[in-house]
C-alpha cells in the first residue's frame, strides 16, 4: 500500500503525471513546510493533481486557505505513509476559486464548504452547495473572514438546513441537538429511522464556531500557543505542539532535546488520560457502570498527577515557543515510573474483565462497523483508522523528535467495530506507558527551552504531530513583526466525524451514543 518504501515520492510521481504544468520548485519557505514537500501549481491544475493523487492511493489530510497574504494561497496536504505532499496554488484576487478536491477525496467535502463559508472561495465542481460553518448570522454573500460583517443582534436558529431526506411510509426523522442530553459539546444529528433501526445519519456541526482563525491574527507566538491549547481542550498538548512546531519551523528555532522529550511525555500523558476516559465512557454508554467508575477513577488520579507535576490537570499552557515551561527532577521521574507500574497493575485485570464480559460483548462486538474502504476513502485518523485496518501513525511514519529515536508500536485491528476502537485505545495506553518509561529513562540533561525569536521578515511553517485522537496539523504564517497573520489548525476529528455517518446505518438508535463515543470527534476542534 505504501510507496514510501520504494522511494518514489508523491511529489516525483505527480511531476511525472503532470508534465509541463508544474512550476519550478519553489525554494523559498520549502524547509519551513517540511515534512511536506511543496508543489506549486496553477489553480486550474489543482483538480488534475488531485485526480492523479487519488490514483496513487494518497490520503487527503488537510486543506486550508492562507488568507494572511495577498493573493490568498490555497494549500492542500496529502500523505502516503510518511511522505507528505503539499499542493500550493495562488488564488485569483477578485474571484478566489479552486477546483474542488471532493470528487476525488470525499474527506475534503466539509473542509471546502467551511472555507467557502468563511472566505467565499468558490470550490468549482463541489457536489454540495449547502452552508457548513456559517449558519444564519450572515447573508449569502457575506463571508466573515474575508470582510467585516454586521451580524444581527440575535442570530436566528439554524432551522432550515436542508437535510438529505429519506422517503417512505414507515420512515421517520429523529432530530437531536444542538444541545445534547449529557455534559457534552453541541451539534445536531438528524437520523432517518425505520422503527429502531437507523437508515441514515447526517451531522450538522459548526455550533461552537468561535472564530479561532480570526482570534489568532495579531497574536505573538506565546499567545498563539495559548489559543492552540484551547482549539480542543482535550487535545491541548497536541494542538499546542503542532502550532509550536509550525512556529519553530517558520523561525528556524530548534528546541533542546530535553524540551522535545518533555513534550512527548506531555503528549503521551494526554493520550493516556483521554483513552482512560473514553474506555470508561464507552462502557457507560452501554450501561456498564462498573468500568465507567473504575476508568473514571484512574483518569482522575492521572489528571491529579498532571496537576502536581506539570501544573495543570489538562496540561494547558505547558508548551512555549522554543520549549516547555515544565521540568522534572529525579524525584518526579521516580514517582512517575511508580505511577506507570501501578497503573499497569490495575489495568491488566480491569481490561481482562472489559474484554471478557458477555453482556458487554453483546453491545460492543459488531456494533458500528466502519469498513476499511470507508476509513480509507474518508481519510480517517488515529484509533478510528487503526481499528479499521489503516496502519498509520505520524510518530512512526514521519517521526519527529523525540519519536525518531523511539520505536512506536502501532496497534491495528481490522474489525472496524466499537470493540476494535476500544481495543486500539486500551493497547495504546500500554504502549504510551512504555514510551513514557523510555522517555524518562533517557532524558537528556540541559535546558528546557531556547529563546524564541520571530523570523525577520516573517515566514510560514507547518507542524504535524500524532495527537491522542490522531494526526494533528497546524499551519502558521508570521508577519514581518512576528505576529500571526494566519493560523490554520486541523483537528483529527475533522477527518473522523464523517465516519460516524458511514458506520451508523443498520445499527439501532440506542447504540448511537456508544458509536459516537467510540469515534469521539471533537466539536470544538472541528468548528474552530
Amino acid at each position: 500500500m505504501s510507496t514510501a518504501l520504494t522511494d518514489v515520492t508523491l511529489l516525483a510521481r505527480l511531476r511525472a503525471a503532470l508534465p509541463g504544468r508544474v512550476a519550478p520548485p519553489q525554494v523559498a519557505h520549502a524547509e519551513a513546510l517540511l515534512p511536506g514537500r511543496t508543489l506549486q501549481l496553477q489553480a486550474r491544475d489543482w483538480a488534475s493533481a488531485a485526480a492523479a493523487l487519488a490514483t496513487f492511493g494518497a490520503r487527503f489530510s488537510a486543506l486550508w486557505i492562507d488568507h494572511g497574504v495577498r493573493p490568498w494561497q490555497g494549500l492542500a496536504l496529502f500523505a502516503d505513509g510518511g511522505d507528505y505532499l503539499l499542493l500550493h496554488a495562488e488564488l485569483d484576487s477578485p474571484n478566489p476559486a479552486l477546483p474542488s478536491l471532493t470528487p476525488h477525496f470525499a474527506g475534503a467535502a466539509r473542509s471546502e464548504r467551511g472555507w467557502h463559508d468563511l472566505l467565499g472561495v468558490d470550490f468549482v465542481g463541489h457536489p454540495d452547495p449547502r452552508r457548513w460553518l456559517r449558519h444564519q448570522a450572515w447573508g449569502e454573500h457575506e463571508f466573515p473572514l474575508a470582510a467585516p460583517t454586521q451580524p444581527p443582534a440575535r442570530t436566528p436558529a439554524d432551522t432550515t438546513y436542508p437535510f438529505t431526506r429519506v422517503a417512505g411510509g414507515a420512515v421517520h426523522e429523529v432530530a437531536v441537538g444542538p444541545i445534547h442530553a449529557g455534559t457534552i459539546e453541541p451539534g445536531h444529528f438528524r437520523f432517518a429511522t425505520v422503527g429502531e433501526q437507523a437508515l441514515q445519519l447526517e451531522l450538522r456541526l459548526g455550533y461552537v464556531h468561535r472564530g479561532v482563525q480570526r482570534i489568532a491574527c495579531g497574536r505573538d507566538a506565546a499567545g498563539l500557543l495559548r489559543l492552540a491549547a484551547r482549539v480542543s481542550g482535550d487535545s491541548a498538548v497536541a494542538h499546542a505542539w503542532a502550532a509550536a512546531m509550525a512556529l519553530e519551523h517558520a523561525a528556524g528555532v530548534t528546541p533542546p532535546a530535553r524540551a522535545l522529550a518533555l513534550r512527548a511525555v506531555l503528549a503521551e500523558r494526554e493520550r493516556v488520560a483521554n483513552h482512560l476516559g473514553d474506555a470508561g465512557g464507552i462502557a457507560n454508554d452501554v450501561g456498564f457502570s462498573f468500568a465507567h467508575v473504575q476508568f473514571g477513577a484512574l483518569r482522575e488520579r492521572w489528571q491529579r498527577r498532571s496537576a502536581e507535576l506539570f501544573g495543570h490537570r489538562l496540561l494547558f499552557d505547558v508548551l512555549t515557543p522554543g520549549g516547555v515551561r515544565v521540568d522534572v527532577d529525579a524525584a518526579a521521574i521516580a514517582s512517575l515510573r511508580a505511577d506507570h507500574i501501578a497503573l499497569r497493575a490495575v489495568l491488566r485485570p480491569l481490561i481482562d474483565i472489559v474484554l471478557d464480559h458477555p453482556s458487554l460483548d453483546d453491545r460492543l462486538v459488531g456494533t458500528g462497523v466502519l469498513s476499511a474502504g470507508d476509513a480509507r476513502a474518508l481519510g480517517c485518523l488515529g484509533y478510528v483508522a487503526r481499528a479499521s485496518g489503516q496502519d498509520l501513525d505520524v510518530r512512526r511514519d514521519a517521526p519527529y523528535a523525540p519519536y525518531d529515536h523511539l520505536g512506536v508500536r502501532v496497534p491495528v485491528y481490522t474489525q472496524g467495530d466499537v470493540v476494535a476502537r476500544l481495543r486500539v485505545r486500551l493497547d495504546e495506553i500500554g504502549i504510551a506507558l512504555d514510551l513514557l518509561d523510555a522517555l524518562l529513562a533517557d532524558l537528556s540533561a540541559g535546558a528546557t527551552m531556547v529563546t524564541w525569536a520571530a523570523p525577520a521578515g516573517g515566514g510560514t511553517g507547518l507542524g504535524i504531530v500524532e495527537g491522542w485522537r490522531g494526526e494533528t496539523v497546524a499551519y502558521v504564517r508570521l508577519d514581518a513583526l512576528g505576529r500571526v497573520a494566519c493560523y490554520a489548525p486541523r483537528d483529527p476529528g475533522v477527518m473522523n466525524w464523517p465516519a460516524l455517518e458511514r458506520l451508523l446505518p443498520g445499527n439501532i438508535i440506542p447504540d448511537f451514543p456508544v458509536c459516537n463515543k467510540s469515534i469521539n470527534g471533537s466539536y470544538a476542534g472541528h468548528d474552530l
Binding site: R154, G182, Y207, H209, R214, R230, E300
Partner: protein, 169 residues
Amino acid sequence: MLRILNRIARTGKLTEPLDTSASLEALGITVQRTLDARFAGSLAIRHIDAGSCNGCELEVQALGNPYHDLERFGIHFVASPRHADALLVTGVVTRHMQAALLDAWQAMAAPHLLIAAGDCACDGGEFGCSYASLGAVENVLPVDVRIPGCPPTPAVLLRGLLAALGRAR
C-alpha cells in the same frame, strides 16, 4: 461476576470529604439569592456548552467520578431545561449557540439560576468577542454565579455549586 465484585471490594470507597478551607469570596462567587429555601436543598442542573473548547466539559464530567461524587450533595444533572433549577453554561456564547441558549433559558421554570463556569463564560477568556462569538455569558443572559478557571477544577466547580446552593458553610 466474582472478578467484578472482587475489584469493587478492593477499590473501596474513593469519595473524598469536601475541602471547605478555601474562602468562597476568593472564588469570586456572588450568591444573589437565598437558594436553600427556593430549591429545598437540591439542585437540578442543565449543562450547556455555548462555545467551549471542551476543557470545561471534561472537568464537569469529572464531578461525577467516584472521587467527587457530586450527587451526594443533592446536585444532579438533568437532560431537559424544563427539569432544571440551574443552567450551567460553559464557553463563550457563539452566535451559532445563541438561539439554543436563549431557548433553553426560556424553557426553564422560575425561580431559576444561571451559573457561568470557566473563564470563557465568566469574561470571554481566551476567545472573547469575535465575528463568531458574543463573549461572556452575561452579554446574553443575566448571570447569578461565576466560577472562574481555565477550566475550573472539579473541586472549584464543586465549591462554586455548593455556594450557589447557599450551604457551603
